[in-house]
């Protein structure tokens, strides 16, 4: 079975007061976080941590080599769910906001090397715009053994039609859907334009000179531990391509 971690930030008053962001508070952060947590625990998976608001720190995801503590937190579980405000830089790096500068107000994806200790397989970020659809390779560096990054290529809505997204993703995972389908189906209400995207890396046989063997990709094959197949990790030296799958309306 899987070990999982959850971090959710609903209030951003400290960040606003410090002048580092104009971001507003959210409303349904913990409906989604609790829903994901509840569904996974109901199926026998183990929660390693659940940090809320200013107990969420950027060092939790920052790589140890870069002064962070990921090997204790994010890179020490199989699947990690985070909700906060997000965006990306011009060079494609994802960034996310915290409400407590431990040690920084924001995390940037060039500071992540996930799966490096061969632990984290899947990361799910309910945050706007952490993937630049015109430069998905901008987050390639985060795949140090991690299989799939689930994020958004534009807005993710906070509202009454998306308050059950955590439960929906959790249900999909434990009912046996692939991780990619669990995310895209689970966060889509097919009404408001959520913009889910799932990103993974593939080997040279998957790239196949540009004639992609999609059936070989994590997007097609990976399930949550205990609910179907999980492919082997792919070390950076074996990674020949980056693949992504997204919904648009």
């Amino acid at each position: 079975m899987a070990m999982f971690g959850v971090e959710g930030i609903r209030y951003f008053s400290n960040a606003r007061a410090a002048g580092v962001s104009t971001a507003g508070d959210l409303t349904y952060t913990f409906n989604r976080c609790n829903g994901f947590d509840d569904k996974l625990r109901s199926a026998g998976h183990s929660r390693a941590f659940y940090w809320a608001n200013d107990d969420c720190w950027e060092t939790d995801i920052r790589d140890k080599d870069k002064g962070g503590d990921d090997e204790t937190w994010v890179d020490n579980v199989d699947i990690f769910w985070i909700e906060t405000h997000g965006n990306h830089e011009d060079d494609g790096r994802a960034r996310m906001l915290y409400d407590n500068p431990q040690q920084n107000w924001r995390t940037y994806s060039d500071q992540w090397q996930l799966g490096e200790d061969w632990n984290l397989e899947w990361m799910m970020a309910y945050s706007c715009l952490t993937v630049d659809l015109n430069n998905v390779a901008g987050i390639w560096n985060i795949f140090s053994g991690m299989h799939i990054y689930c994020g958004a290529w534009d807005e993710m809505w906070d509202g009454w039609t998306t308050d059950e997204c955590g439960e929906d993703v959790g249900d999909n995972l434990i009912d046996g859907d692939t991780v990619s389908d669990s995310w895209i189906d689970g966060v889509s209400d097919w009404y408001f334009d959520n913009h889910p995207v799932t990103v993974c890396v593939g080997d040279s046989a998957t790239w196949n000179n540009g004639n992609i063997q999609w059936d070989r990709s994590y997007l097609n094959r990976d399930h949550l531990w205990g609910h179907g197949n999980v492919d082997a990790d792919l070390a950076p030296s074996q990674q020949a391509c980056i693949l992504w799958r997204w919904a648009e309306g």
């Binding site: 941590f49 940090w51 107990d55």
Partner: protein, 312 residues
């Protein structure tokens, strides 16, 4: 942008609201009745997929019924709302569309055709209908180390349909979503239709769009808090719609009452996108829970001592 401009912009985007609207009670179905509905939808699905679903494993769980189907398919009924979902067991990258088949108009027709074959109109009540609303697509792409891109592939198309009670839409998650693979192969169908009990129980006066926009502004202001920048300068998109609302699938609902629904996007260094719901009647018929939950965690708060240790 000042508040007046915000309100003018908001009111300018809404679809016309009537002076009065019907209030409906929502039909409440027992688990047995819901199971019977699912059996009917499974029968139609079997016809569309040309596979039998007779051999199915039904299990009633805490708040839903789960049906395991042949070939990795499954069906789910959410007891609180009667929402149903059937998946046929296709893998995400199986049966992708060929490039010659990338035509949106054809895909809309394809979803409408399957909609008819599934007899989904049978799942609404009197004076109700389902209408096509929007086509969604799931695509895939790849790039290698040398920045060589592979051709974008179309994996799935999704036809979203909207439930109408009388002349008003029931806003919320898609009332019906039909997901298709190439050649119109059914990947999944899901429904969230709050069937009314028929006759209106009340005829309620509707508040003005200006008044509703004022309430939206109040909700937005409370979220934005104090900041160095006026949030109205950060708004990039705003819209407002009018109709009944359907809560999400795990929530029961007894009444269909009209509401204004607003969507507002803001950009600063951090992007934000909010939905707001405002009752369109003076009398409150249905709670929409605008407060959200607290974190369900008993983890002890972290302190700076721990932080210093962690960050050595």
């Amino acid at each position: 942008m000042d508040n007046k401009l915000f309100l003018d912009n908001m009111v300018g985007t809404y679809n016309t609201a009537p002076s009065h609207a019907e209030i409906y009670s929502v039909r409440q179905l027992s688990v047995d009745e819901l199971n019977a509905k699912m059996k009917r939808l499974l029968r139609y699905t079997s016809d569309v997929c040309k596979t039998s679903t007779d051999r199915a494993d039904w299990s009633v769980q805490q708040d839903r019924t789960l049906v395991r189907l042949p070939k990795g398919g499954r069906a789910i009924i959410h007891h609180a709302s009667g929402a149903m979902k059937i998946t046929t067991g296709l893998q995400p990258m199986e049966l992708m569309f060929e490039e010659k088949d990338y035509c949106k108009d054809d895909h809309i027709k394809m979803t409408e055709s399957v909609f008819k074959k599934l007899n989904l109109d049978e799942f609404t009540g009197q004076k109700e209908s389902l209408q096509f609303e929007k086509l969604w697509q799931i695509k895939a792409a790849a790039v290698n180390r040398e920045q060589k891109f592979a051709a974008i592939r179309l994996c799935r198309v999704i036809g979203a349909f909207r439930h109408f009670a009388g002349n008003l839409p029931v806003l919320g998650p898609a009332s019906v979503a039909i997901k298709l693979a190439s050649n119109g192969s059914l990947d999944s169908v899901q429904t969230l239709i709050r069937e009314t009990s028929g006759e209106a129980i009340e005829w309620a006066p509707i508040i003005s769009a200006e008044e509703a926009a004022d309430k939206v502004l109040l909700q937005l202001s409370s979220l934005m808090g104090k900041s160095s920048v006026d949030f109205s300068e950060l708004i990039t998109k705003q819209s407002m719609h009018f109709g009944y609302i359907s809560l999400a699938k795990r929530k029961s609902q007894r009444i269909l009452a009209p509401h204004y629904v607003a969507a507002i996007s803001l950009r600063g260094k951090d992007a934000q996108a909010y939905q707001f719901v405002v009752p369109a009647t003076e009398k409150l018929y249905e709670s929409t829970c605008n407060t959200g939950s607290h974190a369900f965690t008993n983890q002890v708060a972290r302190n700076r001592f721990t932080a210093q240790n962690n960050c050595k």
